[in-house]
Amino acid sequence: MPESLDSRPERYLRFSHRSLVALFIITLVVGGLCLAMALRPGDTPRWMTSLVALLPIAIAIGVVTLQRTTLRGDRWDPKSPEVQAVLQDEWRRASMDRAIRVAFFVILIAQIPIGLLVAPLPSLRAVMAMATTTLTLGMATFLALFLFFSRQGQDEQ
């Protein structure tokens, strides 16, 4: 691997990217579980509620594994110049702004179909389902678009 693609800033960038992919998956899993609980509170299988309890342990194991495999012994220190370069990177910020704008419009447009879908439910469950769906959809759209935009044209010369 060329030196420039395996330098410390590149490793921090990869760590940030993989963490966001993991967050995207967690968002979908947690959102799906919460939606299932909101839609059918009495019928939620036992394994699903157990999964929610195991989630913090899975996240901790995931973070340690990511650090070991991606950072190779380095620490994610927010004060270090390399991490600052990643966090304050203009391309990253521009991608984030674009993703936020599109996700906001997706949420706005999705309110009508979501409202129609949850309309037959009792009011409390309908509100919970709508809130869960909106949050999950918004987060998932934002993360997916951010990952897509931030990788666009990255190795074009």
Binding site: S4, S7, P9, P81, Q88, E90
Partner: protein, 61 residues
Amino acid sequence: MRDLTQAELASLAGVTRRSVNAIETGHMVPSVLLALKLAHALGTSIDTIFSLDDDSAPAGF
């Protein structure tokens, strides 16, 4: 103008290689601060590396 790799230029300007690449390929227009940092890192002035195109929009170097 100094001869630097994208990674070296990114390191000197305090951004990632992706930002430098996005500017070079015309996917992003940098802020004034980043343009100044890039010019400083390359040992030249902003107008040497950035210019206006026919539509008066800033173009990448």
